[in-house]
């Protein structure tokens, strides 16, 4: 029975919440999502299983909180980069910007890929609504920024482009994360086509996608 220092003040509690999220983040970075259990997270933080339920009512809420935080970070980052981006620079640099913003965000990608298929299941209306409204806000704001940077986009197309960008990100991320056995199979030189280098391939795909979105007269 190792009693952890108690988080009494609200500040401390927020900190512990973050500690849990960080541990979850670490865990996700190392192991497959299927091994991502409450028990594993608890062990990682060095807290009892029950304690986690003091901070997150259900497993799914923990997942979602994790993604929510990462989304927040990512959108902040992306917005900053977009604001710095000169409007005259061609879209090529936009894809580079996006790819750069995703570097060191492996777990963000993992969770993002699982959003609709896993994370958004087994949650209540309240939680779902709160999450979606938050997301809507961010998506709209960033969508607007895209429209400013890419003047050929008409109203609302920024958000739409963002949606397709996400599709490409999610798709490629999944395809690039193979199981250990498959990775071994792909070592064969002939299999090169399937050895997807995520960042490089994403940049390539994004360029094409954005190109297509903007150049289409």
């Amino acid at each position: 029975m190792v009693v952890k220092q108690r988080a009494r003040r609200d500040e401390e509690k927020q900190h512990r919440r973050r500690t849990i999220l960080l541990a979850a983040r670490d865990l996700l970075e190392e192991r497959a999502f299927t091994e991502f259990t409450i028990a594993a997270v608890a062990e990682r933080v060095g807290l009892a299983k029950g304690t986690l339920f003091l901070y997150f009512e259900t497993k799914e809420k923990l997942y979602l909180a994790l993604l929510e935080e990462m989304l927040q970070d990512w959108f902040t980052d992306i917005d900053l980069r977009l604001d710095k981006l000169d409007a005259d620079i061609p879209m090529q640099s936009l894809s580079t910007t996006l790819v750069d913003s995703l570097k060191n965000r492996k777990l963000f990608l993992t969770l993002l890929s699982l959003l609709e298929s896993v994370l958004e299941h087994n949650i209540d209306y309240e939680t779902a609504a709160k999450f979606k409204w938050g997301l809507l806000e961010k998506v709209t704001a960033t969508g607007k920024r895209l429209e400013q940077r890419l003047p050929s986009l008409s109203l609302g197309e920024g958000t739409r482009l963002l949606l397709h960008i996400r599709a490409l990100i999610t798709g490629l991320h999944q395809m690039s994360n193979t199981s250990t056995v498959v990775a071994k199979v792909l070592e064969d030189p002939a299999m090169q086509v399937f050895r997807i280098e995520f960042e490089q391939e994403l940049e390539y795909g994004l360029k094409a996608l954005i190109d297509g979105f903007t150049k289409k007269v």
Copy 2:
């Protein structure tokens, strides 16, 4: 205990294998993937759970075999359509062709979306290798066809385009399949951005993607 007629000859065994796959296919079409349990498949085929393990050593092998068959079908279909496609027709019709080929292939999309994240886990090297080599062949062949149809593509870029097409398909498919609760949240008019109509959106995205791949000078 109704003992099913035994499959003795190899031919019969192959036939039973197919019967299982077909039943699994039907099941997947009706129910969510989480309800896709061995027990459910067995019940659907009218065979015992244990029997399934005579034909597929693990659950994942069954999944993979299912996808393998569907991939076979889809590539055959797509190749046929590509061969019929006149080389002079602009790429716009290529996206339409692709979208058309995916109509009535809901389960194919479901499984394809789960390939790397679920299906390729818990299988042995042999199975993985066999699957990947088969896929390589198909991908290469269809990639070549794309290069023929889209002359601006250089050697090998057909396969690469195919890869990005799949990424977009997988990404959009996942995004368009929301849980019941989320669906309810999305009923709000303001949430329209998140209510993704798969086929329509895919066509839009594919056009842009292919456009970008080809027009890029």
Copy 3:
């Protein structure tokens, strides 16, 4: 964290003890026994969970104290009524008296029904002894009163009658408190036999019981 005024003097502590018991009483009146958790009681009193354990070492001790208080009240009430009861009035009115004394004592009945099966577990010898000795005193006194009112009873039979009265009360109370699902089942007219109206049925049963106890020559 709102720290409640500390109870320093013994008098204050007794007062707080009572406050807790009263809150627990209220809670039990509203909710089913299964929802009667320490957390719920604490919330109701406006004290912290831990504080409750300063006044009651175990959950069961709290229960028992609660029942003890209610028993005290009830015996006081019943004794008063018995004293007012004219010795010449037939026993019929005794059952009425008893039933009347139980009106508005729902939670008393609930706890009484759980005495041996739940409340008296997980307590120490001391507590058990104290409780039982107190009860003995009350039972004996009221038993005596019964013997005075019902002259046909021989020495000690008053207590014995009391015992059987309690058995009937406990039994009927339990039988009349059905779960929601069962209540729905009992809506069927054919199920009328099982729809027990506690007070009415108790009066009926008590009459018979007391009748039998007294008229038996």
Copy 4:
């Protein structure tokens, strides 16, 4: 992994079902109801936990099945005894008959005492309805028999008497089953009043109750 002989034929399965029920019965005889968990029953039968769920879909269904069987037995027994009972013999022997029928049925009494408060919770409408209809049938039939033996009872009063008999049984049974600590407290000679000898006391109470039911002019 001790694989138990498999129950293949329907007959064997019924037998295993009974084995489980018997084990549950034994367990209940030895330990308190709170310790009566699926895990404990499984260990007792020497089966895996999961196996129990093949025979009983939920914990509550197991409980109810247990009681259902015992009720069946008891009513059969009681009806037989009532049929043999000469109508001319006074009701005194009726109480004796009832008490006799309850000898060696400790666990039946335990479960019966928990029927409304525990067993009938957390079950679905179907199960509840099936149980109640079965019970209704038995209660009605036995109620009729009582009316035949006790001619002073008017139509329907047999069932009503049965109801009160059950209340007394349940009440006394609970009161007579004390926890270990309380039992120790009751060793004091002064506590004799609380040392309830179930059978003896039930006979006494039943006599009075039946007397009251019948003699009431």
